[in-house]
């Protein structure tokens, strides 16, 4: 194993999160932090979340686990046993950060809440990630992705107006929450570096998701206009209330293209008409259109419908790949609606060496992962190690770092502490 470099390499993080918080430790791990994932004896329940390696449902083969728990070492520890709590206290004494996503009050009941932990380690930054926050009327509510998406307001903006509000099929709110939690964690860290003072960071998933829909709520705040789900159409661009089509059926799926205004929009519209014209599919009125004076903020539905009709016919014979190549070449706004398959074919990601091959000796193979989240001129940001197996680093941590003997660890195993 190569030594960790990276900006956060001096720091130790204890990670007691469930899927709501997995990405927080991973983000910091990408920057080199030493993240120790602490699981219940027998393994984290989230190891049951699919998909699985070669579709083999097995706690050591969860791709969900692989994807969000790489850059972590793994130990098992039973916080509900007295001996386990004692060990945990020793780990906390040596840690810089603790990240957890227990229901508010759970750690307090074990006498391991922030108040108790800060006595052990006053410098500790303790990040608590929950659906609604540590206090307040909903703080004890249970929530998975769909409840977070609903309560944050996201779902009210997603889906066909004639049908139920929608979430995104692959759960997103956990990643939003955990990535914003990593921001809060580092803000508290910088405060600690200056003052020596640790503190608890209280992260609400509901509040994190407010950023996912940008400014939709400001329409209510400023003008008492309620933005709602609009299916495949964009609203809020024209003061007339005109809706613009966003998703266009094409030869092999859908394209994302919008008649925009502004400088970039006018350029795009002009370039599209030229492309259509090169195939003899641009009607005269589009060719004659004065894009320079085209004002999206005042456009009417009638004008939009008239423009969209020939564009729609044109796109029906365009394949996603062709569209992607043309928008790049012609400097137009728009992208294909890509699936994971097409994402892997993108030459841009290949050029930037985005994909990173990680060895999985236990599976006798290596796997291609999405690599580091950014490129730094100083210091790497990448996957340093695959996700841990259950208790993989028990010996390394308990013997190597806490100075325990092999037989002591064995005894703890038998007692169910680890």
């Amino acid at each position: 194993m190569k030594p960790r470099a990276g900006f956060l390499s001096p720091y130790r993080i204890l990670d007691l999160t469930d899927e709501l918080g997995f990405l927080c430790g991973k983000v910091l791990g990408d920057l080199g932090a030493d993240v120790i994932k602490i699981e219940k004896p027998g393994g984290d329940p989230a190891r049951k979340i699919g998909p699985f390696f070669r579709n083999q449902s097995d706690p050591e083969k969860s791709l969900y686990w692989f994807g969000f728990n790489n850059n972590k070492r793994g130990i098992t520890l039973n916080l509900e046993s007295a001996r386990g709590r004692e060990l945990f206290a020793r780990l906390v004494a040596r840690a810089d950060f603790l990240i957890e996503s227990f229901i508010p009050g759970y750690l307090d009941r074990l006498d391991l809440g922030y108040a108790a932990l800060s006595r052990i380690n006053p410098r500790l930054v303790h990040t608590s990630i929950t659906p609604f926050g540590q206090s307040g009327p909903y703080s004890r509510f249970r929530a998975s992705d769909i409840e977070i998406m609903a309560m944050s307001g996201c779902m009210s903006l997603t889906g066909d107006p004639e049908r139920a509000p929608l979430r995104i099929t692959f759960p997103q709110s956990y990643q939003w929450t955990a990535s914003y939690a990593s921001v809060g964690t580092l803000v508290a860290h910088l405060h600690r570096q200056r003052t020596g003072e640790g503190q608890q960071v209280d992260v609400s998933a509901q509040a994190c998701m407010l950023w996912a829909f940008s400014h939709a709520h400001t329409f209510w705040d400023l003008n008492r206009h309620l933005e709602k789900r609009a299916g495949s159409f964009m609203t809020g661009r024209s003061i007339t209330g005109a809706k613009m089509r966003v998703f266009w059926p094409c030869k092999d799926g859908y394209l994302n293209f919008i008649i925009y205004g502004g400088e970039a929009g006018r350029k795009t519209n002009q370039a599209l008409v030229e492309w259509m014209d090169s195939k003899g599919m641009a009607p005269e009125f589009l060719k004659k259109k004065e894009w320079k004076s085209f004002n999206i903020a005042a456009v009417t539905q009638e004008e939009i419908d008239r423009m969209e009709e020939p564009i729609s016919r044109f796109f029906q014979d365009v394949a996603k790949k062709e569209f992607f190549e043309e928008v790049i070449k012609r400097e137009m706004l728009g992208y294909p609606v890509a699936s994971v398959e097409e994402i892997f074919q993108d030459p841009q990601l290949e050029f930037r060496k985005f994909w990173q091959s990680i060895d999985h000796p236990e599976l006798g193979t290596s796997i291609l992962y999405p690599g580091g989240f950014a490129k730094f001129s100083e210091g790497p940001c990448k996957i340093w190690r695959r996700a841990p197996l259950i208790g993989e680093h028990n010996e390394e941590v308990y013997c190597g770092e806490l100075g325990m003997k092999g037989e002591e660890v064995e005894k703890l195993k038998q007692e169910g502490a680890i």
């Binding site: 900006f7 956060l8 983000v27 920057l31 699919g50 998909p51 994807g67 249970r142 998975s144 769909i146 409840e147 998406m149 609903a150 309560m151 307001g153 996201c154 139920a164 979430r167 995104i168 099929t169 990643q175 990535s179 939690a181 990593s182 803000v187 508290a188 860290h189 910088l190 003072e197 503190q199 608890q200 992260v203 509901q206 509040a207 994190c208 407010l210 829909f213 940008s214 400014h215 709520h217 400001t218 329409f219 309620l226 709602k228 859908y254 994302n256 925009y260 502004g262 790049i328 992208y335 294909p336 892997f344 030459p347 841009q348 990601l349 930037r352 999405p370 989240f373 001129s377 100083e378």
Partner: protein, 404 residues
């Protein structure tokens, strides 16, 4: 003292991806200077509704307001080289952190790329946030986050299996890049403190978005499975969806993944006879009859408000929630409890709800404290008092349109 007090941040940035990183820094005490120009104001001011009372105006944009509270706003027309370039460099020399989200190549054309800037500020931390990254065959392709969310696979996963993709409101992916950009800057500040070294950070919004997709990317690579949209369904739960409630376009959500969740739900519904049918007996059989299951649940929920359902089910330990609207989020009791919105008075907008960070530091307070700035509002203060230009220098630059 707030955690980032004394950290000076300069934004050659507009729209969301750059400025909202700055917002998170300003909310924790950094001094953030948003650079615009009268000839080219931030696009959110210029052409993105809502405007107060639907009257267009550069100081009336709700979206700009949301992204820029507490910042200082100055104007600098970068087209007026070389004087504007020199002035930009003086501003960078004063700062700790530069955030820019121009199209890749633009800062270099302006003579303000990282290599040029580190000559005048060797320990500079500079974040370049772009659509597709600073390098590569597509680097120069400009685009909006609302469309990039499609290239990164998000909209392919939104909607029903037999229908078109559904829009994700606004530049969804930009705000993912915001979190990663902020993390990168904060880690770089810590690193600079310990080593004296700065760094350039290249975030592609595209690549940050793909972080959120890791398991399904692996699923394709290993198993050949192409994930696709499936309404509100979840492979590990039934029921799992949104259900109609009493009131106009009012909805709740309910999800039950374990058998005990299901049994609790049946009890909460009063154990109606249909719940005893064998087709609903196990998770697997409920998944096989999910359309009928959803209808039955929906028939029950329509008799109640979303709040009644949520409170009733949560009291029984069942996951449920209200589909809050864009109006509801201002009065949601939990968000209110967290003081998520800070109401401040703006001279042209009037009262505006500014947004607090989604995380609270229990010992160190956060903003917003001041409304977003008017275009060029802090020219005099910033250029003369913070940057130290003399009155004469300042007036000359104004007369020449460098400060416009």
């Amino acid at each position: 003292m707030r955690p980032l007090e004394g950290i000076k941040v300069v934004e050659f940035a507009a729209y969301a991806a750059g400025p909202v990183v700055g917002k998170h820094l300003v909310d924790h005490g950094a001094t953030v200077v948003h650079i615009e120009s009268k000839v080219r104001p931030d696009g959110f001011r210029a052409h993105y509704p809502p405007y107060k009372d639907n009257i267009h105006g550069l100081n009336r944009s709700g979206l700009f307001a949301l992204c820029n509270n507490d910042k200082l706003d100055i104007t600098l027309n970068l087209k007026k080289a070389p004087k504007a370039t020199d002035l930009a460099k003086r501003i960078v020399a004063w700062s700790d952190v530069v955030i820019e989200n121009f199209s890749p190549g633009t800062m270099k054309r302006l003579g303000l790329d990282y290599e040029a800037l580190r000559k005048i500020k060797p320990d500079l931390i500079m974040l370049s946030s772009s659509n597709l990254g600073q390098s590569g065959p597509h680097a120069h392709h400009a685009g909006f986050g609302s469309q990039l969310s499609s290239l990164a696979g998000f909209t392919h996963l939104t909607g029903y299996p037999d229908g078109p993709p559904q829009i994700l409101y606004g530049p969804y992916i930009d705000y993912i890049a915001v979190a990663y950009g902020a993390v990168a800057i904060l880690a770089a500040l810590d690193y600079r403190e310990r080593t004296g070294k700065g760094t350039h950070i290249d975030t592609a919004q595209y690549e940050t978005g793909l972080q959120f997709m890791a398991p399904i990317l692996l699923d394709y690579k290993i198993n050949g499975k192409v994930a696709s949209r499936n309404g509100n369904r979840d492979p590990a739960a039934a029921p799992h969806g949104a259900y109609p409630c009493k009131g106009d376009d009012s909805w709740c959500v309910i999800s039950a993944s374990s058998e005990s969740d299901w049994e609790s739900l049946c009890r909460a519904m009063g154990n109606p006879a249909w719940t005893k049918e064998s087709r609903f007996a196990t998770l697997q059989s409920r998944k096989e009859h999910e359309d009928e299951l959803d209808q039955k649940i929906g028939a029950w929920t329509t008799g109640f408000t979303a709040r009644e359902i949520t409170e009733k089910l949560q009291a029984s330990g069942i996951r449920a929630g209200i589909v809050n609207t864009m109006r509801d989020i201002y009065s949601d009791p939990q968000l209110k409890h967290r003081k998520q919105w800070v109401e401040l008075e703006h001279p042209e907008i009037g009262k505006m709800h500014y947004q607090r960070p989604p995380f609270f530091l229990t010992r160190t307070p956060s903003g917003p404290e001041r409304r977003d700035p008017l275009l060029g509002e802090h020219n005099g203060y910033f250029y003369q008092e913070l940057l130290g230009l003399s009155e004469k220098e300042y007036q000359e630059l104004v007369a020449e349109g460098v400060i416009d």
